[in-house]
Symmetry: C2
Subunit: 328 residues, 2 copies
Amino acid sequence: MSIQIGILGYGNLGRGVEYAVDACADMELAAVFTRRNPASLQIRKTGVPVVSVDEINAWKDKIDVLILCGGSATDLPVQTPKYAKDFNVVDSFDTHARIPEHFAAVDAASKEGGNVAVVSVGWDPGLFSLSRAYASAILPDGKDYTFWGRGVSQGHSDAIRRIVGVKNAKQYTVPVKAALEAVRSGRNPVLSTREKHTRECFVVLEDGADAARIEQEIKTMPNYFADYDTTVHFIDETEFNEKHGGLAHGGFVIRSGATGDNGAHRHVMELSLKLDSNPEFTASVLIAYARAVYRLSAEGQKGAKTVLDIPPAYLSPKTNEELRASLL
Amino acid sequence: MSIQIGILGYGNLGRGVEYAVDACADMELAAVFTRRNPASLQIRKTGVPVVSVDEINAWKDKIDVLILCGGSATDLPVQTPKYAKDFNVVDSFDTHARIPEHFAAVDAASKEGGNVAVVSVGWDPGLFSLSRAYASAILPDGKDYTFWGRGVSQGHSDAIRRIVGVKNAKQYTVPVKAALEAVRSGRNPVLSTREKHTRECFVVLEDGADAARIEQEIKTMPNYFADYDTTVHFIDETEFNEKHGGLAHGGFVIRSGATGDNGAHRHVMELSLKLDSNPEFTASVLIAYARAVYRLSAEGQKGAKTVLDIPPAYLSPKTNEELRASLL
């Protein structure tokens, strides 16, 4: 009997989960739940029911793990605690500063329901967090650096689109090569925000909009752009649609540290990700952790966990014996 | 009360463990055990007893975790099962093909003694195994590549030294840049042994030895060199001692895989390590897992484990709350 997966929310991430389940021989997509009118939603897979989220309770015994594919701003803070009462769940909650409170709410709900929940799964938070945890435990005398990109920041693109006169916009976060190389050299440089990343914006204007004013508004926007070297390119809608529809992303987590006699020996550990599709890769991570959730729940475990709490072997369809023979 | 660490075997790895314990505020070196005459062994730290391994049983209640720093060829297959009966242990057993039988022997012994053992800790096996496990679970439709170097292979250096007429030798394993770049591009190339690594040898001859014959013997040595492009440099002893005393190493684990519509989107995950001192870095990994062993034992767990079985949070001196707030 394969692991029965439910998807709640059929946006980019939900579609990525649909693909990721297909890639796993031990899993099956049981249903897609939506807040929209189910009749209006066409999913890729034939034969899988699309169900109103209002009817989700009827599926309690038919879903092993429910993947919550909503956004971190308003969806997941409500949805994850709510559904963790009735389902084993995985989410990708990524508002770093609010993870402790989110974890606490989900932990209480999942314990009340006797379920397992894994929150903040993906690549950052997620794989990057794992890398930071392993590397800092191994090289206590060292320093962590995280770089993002080149990739699309949804939040920054949204911020530009809210400016009057902007029809469409996409913002790329770009790591500064010189900073990356300085970190890789093991010199443990002190880097300002401006020295680590630049921001590159592609903007389509409304007819008659004032490009100079908009460029100025972008470059001086506090929190989002003021602390960065920002480039703004105005392009027409055709070029925008042709060249900026992708969702590629990636990044680097580097720890550089020292061991031995007065720190004589330096070591550099680096995880790098180059992703053609941020949502599809994130979905693939969610699905690997869904397998872990299924197993933890089968063992009788309860409550919220993060990637830091889960043994790597739980993510793999292979047995422990196979893993020891093939991967160690 | 800090975690009391014992070291068995005071070679390069044992000395690395001594440094690694110093770097951890929650640990203390309790004793160094040796097969040599303890009076003949001068360790770096003052005030730490050097004890004959024959007297190790008197230390059963004074050591929380014993770090086994012997070699994989003959020491660890005997030592790890033997000492796992009386101590929580960590070893770096790295004969990949024999890990399953080593694990089984250590598992039986540690369960009999009610102890926890973690075997095959280090970077390969170890961190590279973790990387392969995470990446293959996340991108099932993909391919793993492991490259080693540039770094010293002890086994290959030994093999050269066994040739008649060779006074000293060091062999560096070097990853081929073009192969690395092909893998990083996501093209999933099929690579022969020869295409992945070259071998570079620095050899000091005995007086009157036949360089041409020795070069030929090295380059045609089955298993060790015959399948590789090998370069042999003959140098004098002064240059050898000046330039080839280091123990730097490193390597790359890359998984390249596809997701989405007919694998339309490609993703590349890469872990890279650049290590000034292979034994000191390996020792730092052993010590992070010693912390995990201590905790698992305190929870009442028993038996053998590998890095694949241990939640990352167990390696860190931080609490789960601190980890969630700072590293996720």
